[in-house]
Point group: C2
Chain length 233, copies 2
DNA sequence: GCCGCTCTCGTTGTCGACAATTTAGCTCTG
DNA sequence: CAGAGCTAAATTGTCGACAACGAGAGCGGC
């Protein structure tokens, strides 16, 4: 799914479990995270936990209290971060899409086809009632993963892996509020697919930016509507 | 040299020491890094070393051999990475500069003034003979740090901190080869300063991209001239 | 009753030891 | 002499223990 530590050690297991719980809100923003508790809960020693925790800290899922002694807590979701975060992911995906001309013709066609399938799956998921939020979340992730996985070089892919799950946190927590508006996202995705198919990098980049800007707008509207001051740890 | 020194833990000490040695080429690309060796050399246990190593791994200074067991080595400097890396730092700085209008008038003036000073210091350093490579390296870092430190939000600043030192590796190793061409960089910086002073975000962004594109070009020329195949771990 | 102090507990930082697994060298055989 | 198998060293993953530091509760003084 994401960066993941690959080697099937306990570190990776702890990391995956904690990250999942954070993204999905099981571990609430602001909740304290204690090494020993996690170790006991996961059935491992403190060393793998420590390793996973450090990774989660550098990736921004956890924040450490200032001081020589780090006190870890789940990073809060702040409205003022939405702009920067969504602007960032837009810039990064735009950078990936800009490399569209570097792809060969048949590779580009394959990419467009893959994107179309991914968007169809996403569209089918979000129109089903009742909405399966988890499925919508995953199929949406799949679309954007498909978009960049063959366009981004290793460094850019790293940054995308770093930023995207943080965006996912916002999308997941507020996904339920956006229920009626997910069809719009499908149409925006279709614009991206069309631009990719034609190999028009400039238009594709614009479509990507448009998509993320609107996503941020939708999200902020939901913020304001539901939770004027959500988590101010 | 960075702000990060005083957060006293042995972890930080090991991290700073190793990163410095990698950026400055003391630890050659491809060199293996063994926990116990580092621990013995730094006079600490393996735990802080392990922590520092993991950080250096996630930041891309080290690469791990594929397999269940991670074998760490200093990441190689490859010519084909130059494009992506410099394109990435250009995108990120451009994203920061794009927020220029969000700054107030007096803050913008202060930024322009600070940049001018930084560029003057850099210019004075690179025209001195013989060239003090270390000083040139640091004053160049200082200019770009000044440019983004008040424009970038925390997330963007994180990504910049992540990418910039990797660019620095290339600049440091090949800085000696660029000796005669550093004056050009000073002029490119002056363009950035002028655009910032006038608050012209678009022109500033273009100047930033121009600067990095040229830097990549200069670097690649040096690569090709001196080392057709430098470090292929 | 409120404020400050102390003391205990909680939590993290660090280390050494042990186990597992890979790697490299060595020997034996064809 | 070459190759395969085996053994030993090297290196990493993991754990439990100990020490240091901070936080919060309880206590005493004002």
């Amino acid at each position: 799914m994401s960066i993941s530590i690959e080697r099937g050690g306990r570190s990776a297991h702890v990391y995956d479990g904690l990250r999942d719980q954070i993204v999905r809100g099981v571990l609430a923003p602001g909740a304290r995270v204690v090494e020993q508790d996690v170790a006991a809960r996961m059935g491992v020693g403190r060393t793998p936990v420590r390793e996973a925790l450090q990774l989660l800290l550098t990736e921004g899922y956890l924040v450490g209290s200032e001081g020589s002694r780090r006190q870890l807590a789940v990073a809060p979701l702040l409205e003022e971060d939405v702009d920067e975060l969504f602007g960032l992911i837009a810039d990064l995906e735009a950078a990936a899409v800009r490399r569209l001309p570097a792809l060969g013709d048949e590779a580009r066609a394959a990419l467009a086809a893959g994107l179309e399938v991914a968007n169809d799956v996403f569209g089918a998921t979000v129109t089903r009632v009742p909405l399966d939020l988890e499925a919508a979340f995953q199929t949406h992730q799949a679309f954007h993963a498909t978009l960049t996985e063959r366009l981004a070089g290793p460094r850019l892919a790293r940054l995308l892996d770093l930023v995207r799950p943080q965006v996912d946190r916002y999308e997941y927590v507020y996904g339920a509020l956006l229920e009626g508006e997910l069809g719009v996202a499908t149409r925006e995705h279709a614009d991206i697919v069309a631009a990719v198919r034609e190999g028009d990098a400039e238009r594709a980049e614009a479509a990507v930016r448009h998509n993320w800007r609107n996503a941020a707008e939708r999200l902020r509207a939901a913020f304001w509507r539901e939770a004027p001051d959500p988590a101010e740890a």
